[in-house]
Assembly symmetry: C4
Homo-oligomer: 216 residues x 4
Amino acid sequence: MRYVEVRREVCMTAREIYEARLVAGTWGNVSAWVDDVMVITPSGMDYGTLSPEDMVIVNGEGEVIEGFFAPSVETPLHLAIYKNRPDVKGIVHVHSPYATAFAVARRPIPVILEETAQAIGHEIPVAPYAHCGSEELAHHVVRTLGQDKKAVLLANHGLITVDVSPSAALRACYIAERTAMITLFAEQIGSINILADEDVKCLYEKFKNYGQKKDR
Amino acid sequence: MRYVEVRREVCMTAREIYEARLVAGTWGNVSAWVDDVMVITPSGMDYGTLSPEDMVIVNGEGEVIEGFFAPSVETPLHLAIYKNRPDVKGIVHVHSPYATAFAVARRPIPVILEETAQAIGHEIPVAPYAHCGSEELAHHVVRTLGQDKKAVLLANHGLITVDVSPSAALRACYIAERTAMITLFAEQIGSINILADEDVKCLYEKFKNYGQKKDR
Amino acid sequence: MRYVEVRREVCMTAREIYEARLVAGTWGNVSAWVDDVMVITPSGMDYGTLSPEDMVIVNGEGEVIEGFFAPSVETPLHLAIYKNRPDVKGIVHVHSPYATAFAVARRPIPVILEETAQAIGHEIPVAPYAHCGSEELAHHVVRTLGQDKKAVLLANHGLITVDVSPSAALRACYIAERTAMITLFAEQIGSINILADEDVKCLYEKFKNYGQKKDR
Amino acid sequence: MRYVEVRREVCMTAREIYEARLVAGTWGNVSAWVDDVMVITPSGMDYGTLSPEDMVIVNGEGEVIEGFFAPSVETPLHLAIYKNRPDVKGIVHVHSPYATAFAVARRPIPVILEETAQAIGHEIPVAPYAHCGSEELAHHVVRTLGQDKKAVLLANHGLITVDVSPSAALRACYIAERTAMITLFAEQIGSINILADEDVKCLYEKFKNYGQKKDR
C-alpha cells in the first residue's frame, strides 16, 4: 500500500474532526496532496471506525486509482484548490458550530485574537452559496481563497482551511472556530476590537519563527 | 428471546441519547416497529445501565406481549405514529437543549444548513401543547407530522423524529439540535439566511444517493 | 463505621456534582439526614479523591460526633433546613453556571418544561443575599424554601435543592440547571411560554406514579 | 535534575490548561519561581505529551541555565512579574473563551460571585494591547497587576493569573473564566448585581481560613 504515512495523517485528522465535534455524523472531509495525487476520505462512512486503508487515492482528473470506496462528494472542490494553489498540501472541511453560524449569517470572521493573526493571518471571508459537491461551489471557493488565504467560509454550509499539511489545516480550523465563538461572546458583553492590519501582518510573520526550530 | 437485533438497536440508541446529553435523567424514549409489534424502552429506568432484555414489546393495541417492565409513558404517542405512517420504522424522542428552546418559544427550526436539507428536508414545525403521555399529545403530533415530515417539536417539551430505523431517527435528532444551535448563534452575530425551497428539495433528493451504495 | 450506605450516597453525589461541572474546585456541598444526625461533606477538600470515610457526622447542634475533618462551612444552612422541613432527607448545593446566572440577575427560574413541573413543581425563587456560611443566609433560605419548595436560588451565589435523598436532590439540580439554560436559549430566539399553574400541579402529581413501581 | 517537584507542578498545570480547553494548541504558558530561578514551559510544544524534564530553567536575566528546549516566548512577561511581585511564586497564562471575550471587548470582569470575591478578590482589569512576547506587553501587565492583584486580562489576547503557586494560579483561572461566563449569561436573562466592596473584602479575608487547617 502506497502513501502509508499520508493515509494515516488524513485518517487521523478525519477522526479528530469527528471526536472534537467539528462535524456531525459523516459530514466533513479531509485530503492531502502528494506526488500529483490526492489522498482523500471516503464518502459517507463512519469516522469513528475509519482506518488508513479506507482512504481513497484519486489522480488530478478525479479518477480513483487506489481504494475500495467512493471518494468524498467534495472531491471536485479539493482538486480545484490543489490545482490553483501549489503551496497547499492539506485541506480540511468542517461544519463546526460557531464558524458555521458566521457562514449562515454570511458574515466574515474578524481577526480579534493574537492566534487568529498568527495561525490564519486574515479575516475569513464567505464564499457565495452553491450546492455541496457542485463545480459551482468549487469555483466560488477557489476564487475566494485567492493565492494567499488559509480559510474560507461556505455560505449556509461550513468552513474550509488549507495549509502545508492536513494537521496544519486542522489547526487553522480550531483557531477559526475559537475566533468565531469569542467574537460572538465579545459582542454579547460589549463590542469587538479588531486587530489593526499592520499588527496582523507582523504577528503572522513572527509566528513562523516560534517553537523549537522545526517547521510548525 | 425474539427481535434480538431490534432490541439491541433500540437499547443502544437510548443509551446514546443519554450519553450525548440529548436527555437528562430518564426522560426521552426510543422505539422500533417490526412485524406489527413495537419494541420500546421501559418507563423511568436508568439509561446508563439499560440492556436489550429490558426493552418492552407491545402489540398494536398497546398491550405488553413480552417484557418485565412497564413500557414508556409515551407508548400511545409512538403507536399513533406507526399507525399513521407505514413508512416509519423507528422513532426517537429527546429533550435536547437547543431544539427544546425552540419548542419553548414555539418557533419552527428553519432550514439553514445543507445537512438540515439533506437529512430532514423541511422546516421543523411545533405541535400544540398537551400533557406528556396524553392521547391529545399523540393526536397533535400525528397531525403535525402529516404524511411526509421527519421531525416535529412538542411545545414546552422536546423533539420527536421518525425515520426508517431508530438509528436514522437518531441522526435526524442530532441534525435538528445542531440546526437549532446554529440558528441561535447566527442570529446573535447577524441574521439567518434560509435555504430556498427548491434548494432544499434538490439537496434532499441527491442525498439519498450519497455514501457507499448501501441504504443510509 | 456507622451509616456506611448514607456516607457513600453523600460522597458519590459530591463527586458527581464535581465531575458534571455543577461546581468548580471545592465549592458546593452535599448532606443527608438520618436518625437525627447529619452526614455532610468536609470543608474545602478535593472532590475528585473524596471517599465515604471522609464524610463528617454532626448532631442537631452542629457538633462533630464522628469524622477526621471539619464539616462544610454551610453546616448551619443545612441544619436549619432539616429542622424546618421534616420531609427533607437530602440536600445538594451547587454553583452550576446557568442557574447561578439567574441568581446573579436575581430572577426566578420559570417552569417552562414538562420535567421542571414534574421533578420540581414550582418556579425557583431567589433568596436575598447574605454571606456564605452565615446564619443570616440560613435564615433567608429557610424562609424562601417554606414548607413545600424543592429548590431555591441564593443571590450571587448558587442553587440549593432538597428532596427525600441526596440523589433525588441531585436530580432536581440537573433539572433546574437545564431549565435555566433552556430559558436563556428560548429568550434569545423568541420569548418563553410558561406552563399554566394547573398544568404544573397536574404534571407534578402524575409524575409520582411514573416509573417501575418503586419510589423515584 | 534539580527542582523535580516544581517541574512536575508546572508541567501538570500546563497539561491541565490544555485538557480543560483553557487554551487551544500550544498557546498559553505556566511558570514557577523558586530559589531565584524560573521554571517555565517550553515554546510551541504539544502540551498533551509534555513531561517534567521538558521544562526550562532560566535565571533572572532570562538566560537558560537548564533544559533542552527554548523557553516560552512570554518569558520576559513572566520574569517582569516575579521581579515586581515578591509574593508571587506561580503564574498561569491562558486563552479561555469567556475571559478572552472580555479581553476582546476590553471590559473588566466584575465580582458577581462569592467565589470571585474569595479566590480573586477584585474586579479583573484589562491591560492595554501590545504584541505577545514584547517588553511593552510585560510593562503593561506589571503596571496593571500592581502590588496586590491576582488576575489581569490582556487586550485581544487572554488572561494571566498570579498566586503562591502554579496550582493556586490555575484555580484563579478557573474562577475568572466561570465568572466571565456567568456574567455573560446573567446579562442575557436580566442584569448583573455586583457584590459591594465591603462584602468582597470580607469574603476574601474569611476565605483564607477555610478548608482543613492547611495552606490553600
